[in-house]
């Protein structure tokens, strides 16, 4: 059976997952402050980690991603969801420290540009941007998700008008001599 960790599980813990959160009013199986790594698990404890609307709250994004990497087995999967920085939801929560875009995790996936910031590596398996309803209806979400060139153009030129909502990332932990 896959070992799944739901980080910042809130009240919608993923079925079958072990939940951690810092708030006792959630479905957490274990309470811990997610800004204070390391979390109380051994290295490579999990096949999959889900971090849904969490990374925008933690004090140090790089430290958080390093901790995700430590907890995953080699080839383990990290599913991460966060608001796009043009979504009203990114600013509605007074505990959101970071406003991110679909290229924010290049630190970990494109070592040539930013690799010197952190030694850990992830492979971006899949990425999906969600746009506001009106833009989805007009087909723009499809374009953003089906062409990396268009996504780049959208991030640089369009996204203050054609606003984003959430970004979903699927990363694979790259470990060892790979």
């Amino acid at each position: 059976m896959a070992r799944i960790l739901d980080v910042g599980c809130g009240r919608n813990k993923y079925p079958g997952a072990l939940g951690v959160d810092r708030n006792p009013a959630t479905d957490a199986d274990l309470l811990c402050d997610l800004s204070r790594a390391p979390y109380p698990f051994r290295d490579a404890s999990f096949d999959e980690i889900r971090a849904v609307h969490v990374v925008e709250h933690v004090e140090d994004v790089i430290r958080f991603m390093e901790e995700m990497h430590r907890l995953l087995r080699p080839g383990g999967r990290l599913y991460l969801v966060t608001p796009h920085y043009t979504d009203a939801g990114s600013f509605r929560d007074p505990t959101h420290r970071w406003h991110l875009n679909s290229f924010s995790f290049y630190y970990f996936t494109q070592p040539r540009e930013y690799g010197f910031y952190s030694p850990v590596r992830f492979r971006e398996q899949r990425l999906r941007v969600r746009l506001l309803k009106l833009w989805r209806w007009l087909g723009l979400e499809w374009w953003v998700n089906h062409s990396r060139t268009f996504r780049k153009f959208w991030e640089h030129y369009l996204c203050f008008i054609i606003r984003g909502k959430e970004i979903h990332f699927w990363f694979e932990a790259v470990k060892g001599a790979a």
């Binding site: 708030n23 959630t26 009203a88 509605r92 007074p94």
Partner: protein, 179 residues
């Protein structure tokens, strides 16, 4: 409005302390009556004030939840809390390198007593009495500020679809302390 007999606390009063208020600030160069860190604990007993004002303060504190909990503690039940902060689309939100938080007109909704998605996040401590958005002059002249403040649904639509073009300036929140 008369301030006679009402105890008012001006948190982070700077050099424009609210008339009749007790001012607290970090620096002696201000009009503060008490020097203390306005992000942390205030040297006052519980339920002391009829009104607490935080004008351009919450965007700078380390932890908004902790600061509002402290405001809640020193305010009496039913007290008025006035918070003014830049809208996240205003240039002033990015002008000061001490601004940690970029907020919208729904950012304090978490603390209100209405049924909410995330009520486990922050217990209902305040009732939202009034939210008023100021827009840049051009949009005010064109009547958009009126619409944003008149209709809650329009404010929502503005926050989601328009505000990076029709940009905001300040947001004023007026809350009532629930104890």
């Amino acid at each position: 409005m008369s301030t006679a007999g009402r105890r008012i606390l001006d948190v982070g009063c700077g050099r424009g302390k609210y008339p009749g208020a007790i001012g607290i600030d970090r620096s002696r160069a201000t009009q503060a009556d008490v020097i203390c860190d306005w992000a942390l604990a205030y040297p006052f007993a519980d339920s002391q004030f009829d009104e607490v004002r935080l004008i351009h303060v919450i965007e700078e504190v380390d932890d908004i939840l902790a600061t509002l909990a402290e405001v809640h503690r020193v305010a009496r039940p039913g007290a008025r809390v006035v918070i003014v902060t830049p809208h996240y689309t205003d240039h002033s939100s990015y002008c000061s390198p001490t601004h940690r938080w970029h907020l919208s007109s729904f950012s304090l909704w978490f603390f209100s007593d209405k049924p909410r998605e995330y009520d486990y996040y922050a217990p209902a401590q305040f009732r939202e009495r009034r939210v008023e958005v100021k827009l840049l002059r051009l949009w005010r002249w064109l009547g958009l500020e009126f619409l944003v403040n008149r209709f809650r649904w329009f404010r929502r639509f503005w926050e989601y679809y328009l505000c990076f073009v029709v940009r905001g300036k300040y947001i004023t929140f007026e809350l009532e302390v629930v104890k």
